[in-house]
């Protein structure tokens, strides 16, 4: 059974233009996927493709426009009050910037204990400290004791990001939504933080939605990859399969331009010109067609849903459906 099931989720924002017309930004525009317990799904795409909006909508930090999200087979769309608070114990989020997501005035112990306080858990001080220490150790901060009374400014970027992880872990959630959790960190530190997340997945069966623009990092860490373009998933499949046998022209282009740290592997780049179009004016038909190097006339007319292109591998492209 899936832990998380997302069905045709939409999140639209309305904007008012200067002329009194109202415009719609279709940031998330029909997303469906599921996530099993202990599985890591990487959501990959360029800026503005809607990946962060999707995360916020799943967390109920943004109210979805339409569609359904099931968590443990229970619908969580539109939850409010007590029910929403209870859900947050199960789903926690890790943000990108460890310099901005920690309160500089609080000690590490206070920061990590705060979620417990909010949820009225572990009210006795010794038990609380115990749980904070355990979370810090799970996040790779050893010995935990030596961090309790320090404040964020005394820690390096990598240590701060582990504190952020510890604060998410202290409630023992079953799903983590991590929005670019390592992109601010240096390479040598990045691998370590990914190691902490990997450990959680293996030892605690925590499932993760790993949002990133970096397919390289996703390659090493994710079980499956979903490639997003303008609010939609255009390709979804097992990591190795998507990377070695990409089917959608967008995925192929994206993979061709990711720098590979191997000078003997310099390849031909498929460079798409221009910037991704804006989610206010989404092109008709396949939304990728104006930039697609292999588009045919009917691509501008027909919108294509994800179709199976292999075992556990789907892509949304007209050319794949015809062949």
């Amino acid at each position: 059974m899936s832990l998380l099931e997302v069905n045709d989720l939409h999140k639209h924002f309305s904007l008012r233009s200067g002329l009194g017309q109202s415009l719609t930004v279709r940031a998330v525009d029909g997303i469906s996927f599921d996530l099993a317990q202990g599985e890591v799904l990487a959501l990959v795409g360029e800026s503005g493709c809607g990946k962060s909006t999707l995360a916020l909508t799943l967390m109920n930090l943004e109210v979805s426009t339409s569609g359904k999200v099931l968590f443990n087979a229970k619908e969580i769309t539109g939850l409010k009050g007590r029910a929403l608070k209870d859900l947050r114990r199960e789903i926690q989020m890790i943000f990108q910037d460890p310099y901005e997501s920690l309160n500089p005035l609080m000690t590490i112990e206070e920061i990590v204990a705060e979620p417990l306080k909010v949820h009225g858990l572990a009210k006795a001080k010794p038990e609380r400290t115990q749980r904070v220490k355990k979370a810090l150790e799970d996040a790779g901060l050893n010995p935990a004791e030596s961090y309790l009374n320090r404040r964020p400014h005394e820690l390096s970027g990598g240590q701060r990001q582990r504190v952020v992880i510890a604060a998410a872990l202290v409630l023992e959630p079953s799903l983590l939504i991590a929005d670019e959790p390592v992109s601010m960190l240096d390479v040598s530190i990045r691998a370590e933080v990914l190691g902490v997340l990997e450990h959680l997945k293996l030892e605690r069966s925590v499932a993760m939605l790993f949002i990133t623009h970096d397919l390289g990092t996703a390659a090493h860490f994710a079980d499956r990859i979903a490639v997003m373009y303008l609010g939609r998933i255009v390709e979804l499949g097992e990591t190795k399969e998507v990377l070695e046998n990409p089917q959608h022209p967008y995925t192929q282009a994206l993979l061709s331009v990711i720098p590979v740290p191997n000078p003997r592997l310099r390849r031909k780049h498929i460079i798409l010109q221009g910037d991704p179009p804006n989610p206010i004016h989404i092109p008709s038909g396949c939304r990728f067609h104006p930039r697609c190097p292999v588009a045919i006339a009917s691509c501008s007319k027909t919108e294509v849903a994800l179709t199976s292109v292999g075992e556990n591998h789907q892509a949304a492209c007209l050319l794949l459906r015809n062949s």
């Binding site: 360029e46 390659a219 990591t239 990377l243 990711i258 720098p259 910037d275």
Partner: protein, 318 residues
């Protein structure tokens, strides 16, 4: 063999403050004319300080305390400020990290480039023609030249920065993280542009980045820096396929590579040194997996190993 355009010999930079920070120590390398040399390292390794020192644009507290920077044989360290000003833009220029902050928000793109040109030659008609040519060269439509930076996307701003850097036909371009804040597709566009300009204009480029992938794709040689010193300097193939410094080796194992799905990344334990609190001996010793007693006592000199240079005591025993 190509001429050496830039040769840096024993360059050291200190930042003065409560505690002196040795931001660069004994940095030496040379850049052949027409090549793209990558400078790679993590935050705080001194790559930006090195670029600023080459241009003599160090902040107030920064001092070049030793060494030479020979540009076509001329020692830039010893030049007067007035002479140095003559060289900037015309002989060597820089593309800064984060084009949004480097461009003036209240001037049009055309005006900003013209400003650079008029310093060299006050003929306005000539300057205007040159701006058109430059914008065409970097792929910005003429109809956009009277726009302001905020009307440009990130990639377009970076193109405008490149046009400005090229304005006075410099020989050497220093590009400091030119693609860091950009999406990967836009990054590919900018890198392609730089490589095309290199061959069309016979440019020599120093490309500073923390991304080993960018180095592998674009450069002929790479300088790997760690804690203010040169860890290794060699041709691109040597750096990636037969590196000799343990830091270069560790960095490669920590770097994600999408062609190697589901393999384990290996992190480097510990943290980079603080420049005002350096370990005795080799700066990498506290994190090095091959450390031995000598490493914690004396800092290794930069040694040649045939295909390149590395500062590591392990090379002394060979």
């Amino acid at each position: 063999m190509a001429n050496t355009l830039l040769e840096v010999k024993g360059l050291s930079v200190d930042y003065l403050g409560e505690k002196k920070a040795k931001a660069l120590e004994n940095v030496s390398f040379s850049v052949p004319e027409g090549s793209i040399v990558g400078v790679v390292g993590e935050s705080g390794c001194g790559k930006t300080t090195l670029m600023l020192a080459l241009l003599r644009l160090l902040p107030q507290a920064g001092r070049i305390v030793a060494g030479e920077v020979l540009f076509n044989g001329l020692d830039l360290v010893r030049l007067s400020e007035a002479d140095m000003r003559e060289l900037r833009w015309q002989e060597l220029s820089i593309i800064f990290q984060g084009a949004m902050n480097a461009l003036n928000p209240v001037k049009t793109v055309e005006n900003q480039i013209t400003e650079v040109l008029l310093r060299q030659d006050s003929n306005k008609a000539k300057a205007s023609k040159r701006v058109d040519d430059l914008l065409e060269m970097v792929g910005i439509g003429r109809n956009r030249k009277s726009q302001y930076p905020h009307q440009f996307s990130g990639g377009m701003r970076q193109r405008a920065m490149i046009a400005m850097a090229l304005a006075c036909n410099p020989k050497l371009i220093i590009a400091d993280e030119p693609t860091t804040a950009l999406d990967v597709m836009v990054q590919a566009q900018i890198l392609e542009l730089l490589m095309r300009l290199r061959s069309e204009l016979d440019l020599t480029i120093l490309l500073v980045t923390h991304d080993l992938g960018v180095i592998a794709e674009a450069c002929d040689a790479a300088l790997v820096m760690y804690g203010g010193v040169v860890a290794e300097y060699a041709s691109i193939d040597t750096i990636f396929n037969a590196p000799r410094h343990p830091y270069t080796q560790a960095l490669l194992q920590a770097f994600p590579d999408h062609t190697k799905a589901k393999t384990q990344l290996i992190s480097i334990p510990g943290y980079p040194p603080k420049l005002d609190d350096l370990p005795p001996g080799c700066r990498f010793a506290p994190r090095c997996s091959q450390v031995f007693s000598k490493c914690t006592m004396t800092s290794p000199p930069l040694l040649s190993y045939g295909e390149g240079f590395a500062s590591c005591h392990l090379l002394e025993n060979v």
